[in-house]
Structures are given as C-alpha cells and as structure tokens.
Assembly symmetry: C2
Homo-oligomer: 405 residues x 2
Amino acid sequence: MDRIVMKFGGTSVATLERIRNVVARVKRETEAGNEVAVVVSAMAGVTNQLVEWCQNLSPLHDAREYDTVVSTGEQVTTGLLAIALQEAGVDARSWQGWQIPVRTDPAHGKARIEAIQGAELVRRMRSGQVAVVAGFQGIGADNRITTLGRGGSDTSAVALAAALRADRCDIYTDVDGVYTTDPRIVAKARKLSKIAYEEMLELASVGAKVLQTRSVELAMKERVRVQVLSSFADLPGTLVVDEDEIVEKEIVTGIAYTRDDAKVTVRRVPDRPGIAAAVFGALAAEHVNVDMIVQNIAADGTTDMTFTVAQADLPRARAALDRAQTQIGFAEILTDPDVAKISVVGVGMRSHPGVANTMFRTLAERGINIQVISTSEIKVSVLIAAEYTELAVRALHTAYGLDGT
Amino acid sequence: MDRIVMKFGGTSVATLERIRNVVARVKRETEAGNEVAVVVSAMAGVTNQLVEWCQNLSPLHDAREYDTVVSTGEQVTTGLLAIALQEAGVDARSWQGWQIPVRTDPAHGKARIEAIQGAELVRRMRSGQVAVVAGFQGIGADNRITTLGRGGSDTSAVALAAALRADRCDIYTDVDGVYTTDPRIVAKARKLSKIAYEEMLELASVGAKVLQTRSVELAMKERVRVQVLSSFADLPGTLVVDEDEIVEKEIVTGIAYTRDDAKVTVRRVPDRPGIAAAVFGALAAEHVNVDMIVQNIAADGTTDMTFTVAQADLPRARAALDRAQTQIGFAEILTDPDVAKISVVGVGMRSHPGVANTMFRTLAERGINIQVISTSEIKVSVLIAAEYTELAVRALHTAYGLDGT
C-alpha cells in the first residue's frame, strides 16, 4: 500500500470526457489500496483566456489581482473532478491552496512554496478520501491567493508529495515518458525506464519539455520519486529518481536540442582586464540571460567574444550593447539566429572520459562545424548551424548506442 | 460624503467593455468623495456553463463541490474589475467571501448570510480604497465556500450595505428602475421615484423581476436604502425605502402580473372537517407550493376546491392528488394552465377602502371574469383567463390613475 500524488495537466482535464478518464485512473489506485492525492491544472485553454483578459484591461496589472483571476481555473477543475470521483463511488473532496494551506512567499505571479500543512489531508487520505488539490496556487502572508507561475502545477505536485511523505509522485501528461531524444526526430528513440534527477534537470532545461525545471529541482532536493507517464495510453512511464537507484548507468542517457537560442559575436573587443564584466554587465542590466560563452585568443590587442542568448532577447541584447559601444570599445556586433544547441547528458560521463571526444568526432565525420562548446559535469553542449539539427541528433543517438530496435 | 455599496449584475459585467463602463460609474462616486464598495456577479453566461458541467458529471452532485465550482465566476469578475479600476487610477482590491469573511450557514448551494466582518473594509474604504467584493458567495463553518443560490448577489449587496452601515445600496441592472407596471404592456407606465419595501416585496414576488425577494426582505429588516438603476443609461432610478420616507403615498403603487401559475380545481370533495388538510397535505408532501385558494359553498354534502400552483409543479400536483384520491374521495381534477394572476399593490390601501371594488368593477366593465380572489393588507390579486392579461393590466393602470403622460 503506497501513498501517491497523481498530477494531471491541462490537456488531461480539458473536457468532461477527459475528467472521467482521470477518474478511472484514480479509481484504479484507490482500489489497489493506495492513499491518493490528485493535483490538477486548469482545463486546457482556460488560463490563457483569463491571462488575456487581465492583459487586455491593463498591460501592467496588479499581480495580486492577476492571481485572484487565474487561480480560478484550477479551482473549477478540483470541484469538477471531486464531483466526478464521487459519482464513480470514490470518496473525494476538493482543496484550494488557502484551505490546506499551501503557504508561499509574497511574490505574486511567480511565488515559491514555503510550507504545506498536510496533516489533515493525510488523516483523510488514511480514511480513504481522495484529496483533490488545486495546483499552481497557494496563499501568501497577506491572506491573498498567490500563483506559482506558468507550469507551476508540476511543482505543486512535487511539493505536496514531499509534504505528505508520498511514496511516489506520478505526473500524467500528454507524452508517455522521457525519451533518449525527441522521437519526432529520431524514430529509434527509446523511452527511459529510469533517469537521474540531475539528468532530468539538464534535459528539462535544454529542450525536453516534459517537466517544469523547478519541479525537478525540488524533487531532487526533497528526494521525491517522480514518475512521468501518459494520461491517455496505458504504458509504463519513466521514473525520475536518485542516481543511486539506477543500477546500470548509461554513459549518455539522452540527447537534447533547442533552436530557441541566437548567437552573438562582439568583434574586436580590447583585450584588457574587466572587459568581460563590461560586456556581460551591460546585458545583465537589461535582464538578458547569457548561456554559452567563448572568447578567442587575443591578436593585435583585441579579441572576439561569442555567446548565446534566447532568441526573444536578441533585440534587447543588441540594443544594450549598442548603447555601451563607446564604453566597451568594440568594432561591431554579428548576430546569427540560425543556430541549434545540441547537448549529450548522462551521469555516467563523470567516470568515463572521452564522451566529448566522441561527440566532436561524430559531428566532424558528418561535416558539421562546431561554433561554441560548453561542458558541465554531466553534459556536453555544442552550438551548430540550425539546418544540421536533425542530422546531428540522429548521428549522436547512434554513436552513443542509444538506438532502440 | 456618503458610504455606498454598488452592485452590478451579470449583464453589467458581461464583457471587458462593460467592465470598463462599471469603472466609469465607480470613479464618478469616488471622485464625488464617496466611500465605495462594489459587489459583482459572474460575467453573464459563466455561471450557467459551470452549473451545466456539474450537472453533466453528476445530476446529484455534492453541493459543496458545486459551490467550489460556481463561486469562481464572481472571483474572476472581482479581479478583473480591480485591475480595470487601478488602470483608471482608482485604488481598489478584490475580496472573496472567505477573505472578508462573509459567514453563512452550512446550507451549501442556498446558504444564508449570518455575519459579515466589515471593519477592515471600512478602514480601507475610509482611506480611499474601493472594495471589490464577490457577490453570491460566503464561507461556512467548515472553512468551505458556500453560495447563496441563484440571484444571491442582490442579497450579498444588501447584507454588505447593512454590515458597513452604508448610506445607500445601488443595484445597477438592465432596467432603469421600478415601474408602475410592465412598460412592454403599458406604454404609459411610469417609473417610480420611490417605493416602500413592502410594496417592492409584493411586486418582486408577483412578477416584477427587478430585485431578488430575499434581498428586499433583508433590506426591509435592516432598513437599507436600496436604489435600483440602469447600468447603461444615465437616469435617476427608483429608491426602495421605508414607508415613512414616502410623503405622498399613492393608494395603488403598481400593477403586477404573472402567467407562471396554473389553476387546479378538485371537484366534489366531501364537505367534512379536515378535508382541506388532506388535500393540501398531499401537495405539501410533494413540496408543491399552493398560492391562491378558494372553496365553494357546499351543496349536497360536497364542495369544489380551487387553487393555483406554479405551472412547473402542475404534473407533480396532479400525481400527488391522484394518489390520494381514494383517501380524499373527490370526483375529478380539472386543471387550467391558461390563467394569469393580476395584482394591485400599494401601502396606501391600508387606509383607503374600496381599492378591491375598483378592481372588480374595472374588470367587469371589460367583460373579464374573475376566477379566484386573494387579498393581503397591501395587495389584491385576481386570477383571470391569460388571454385578458394585457387588457386587464392596461385598464387597471388607468383606473388607479397611474398613467403617465
């Protein structure tokens, strides 16, 4: 008998029909004798409509009122699911963030959970009642509703699982697990039965949009066993767990890619101390995040600096650097949005040197030029021309022995 | 400088455009130096959609979950209106029932307000902040959201006005006041500048659907001055006040009609003690409300009983009587849904005899047969054939001197 938290996203509760489908899944767990809490998102499309209304009335709206408006989406789903569960003979009741309560910091619109008082939920779950909990929302010290920011329901589910000391947090979504890479690009991509938190974190932040990054960080910190699985197909999913739980570690677990970055090269920057601080300080002042950075060896007293920013930030980045041109003293700025970042991820690479070399060799064999390289303990990323994305991902998938049958 | 509660119904906040119109009206009051609380309904159509979802999932749904779902409609409006007010430079914040709190009894789906803690609202209103309050909702002793039943926002507004000791409760709606009768039938109907609570109560319950009956009862009990006025036109409305405030009392204030009733005649009932209790007991057991009742003089040991029920209850009434036929011992049941109840209402008739006689004479002159009569201290009602409704209302409107120019 386990205590589990089940989380269903917006597409999984988009219609009454799908809510009834959720009931079937919950009932299967309760009939197996498990104690169940369900965390739900708003019905697909609802949150967007509410956000649009707020923005229409005032582009710079009060975040407290925004939270009041958008949190209703999850509230509706909790009530409807509780009704549908009861209709199917499953004891259930809805819980809003303020009722539990789910205490958050006061950062309305992007609040962080500080504490969840789960005692009453546990008491009721022990007596067989399913707790249907509104994701994405909490309550601040000012007794007003807060929301966690878009996609926050994953974080709600993991935080609730931690507070309830649940054996498992099942995230039901519209994909059926975490794959070695994007199955739309590589037909031979395999679903992983297990993946380590650190790997999931790298994959989540480099383009595999299965779980919200914050929820994975929290799961890692609180050691919550997370399972990603499909709302619609009856298939085993992927367990996101501690590295120690994975007996047969692959050297490389997955290949991720993103085409959302742009490359910026600042040409002929004076090669003197403090120049990097001047360039990146100008960008930070405009809240532009910089990702991969490379600096060429200096020649004739100047150097070239290349880095990537989110494509959406490119105009702001360019404007910030232009304003700082006389201060920094560079010759020109080159930008290229047609780039892709390809990353190979795996906790096994800590103990296996040569992973990066396999990557470079594989890409070289296909004639793919590497523009920027960055590495972390469990990841190697390269920037290449966007047109080579599929070719690179497929070649690397094969080179690291990830192809399924 | 007054303290006022302004209430806007669903049609008045149906779109963002109309919410901006509400802002203009609120701003006019705050700029005049008044302290303002605004009570809002859900945007038109929203509540119906939410109710439909609940019923679709389970016809006999948990009223607590129903309240959780439907109360979101008002919550959305409060947040949107607060945002729109702030955008127009008016300090404002939203308040849900549980935040104030508005304490109700535990009758989910049809709760009654027990207490409103208005001190914090008053403090903020004094400092110039507009309180935007969700109508229709409160919180029960179990810390769960309750709703007051359909149309409950009028009651919310009046209860809030009482709790805040407001000088006035302005109910903005899609009509511009209370008329001497339905202007769609009588072109010469006049808008009343003032009407007494008791009169409004009679008019509300006999077919003039301007204010919810419960809200008028509460206004009368708490002596809240209510003003009914249009959201869309800039016209003076109708004040609903204590009888003593009305200096020039009309004998008859208004003429109401309803075609929602049906007539039932139970033929040849044995004329013995307890027979009325047997007939109406059978109906009460099926929760059928009986309105006008008349019993003929007995002949040959039997009598005929005639009464009215809501047309929607007619099948249930008929079935209940059929089941009790052998016990009661009547000969047959005749039903007629083609009837109209016409009522003349006015506090002045207490001191003016002959009001009923004017009614009977006027109808007789038009050849309209009176089927049933019932009277109260400030009302005379008659049942006539439905086809004469307009003729009767027009004739009475003229006979009592109510025609405008």
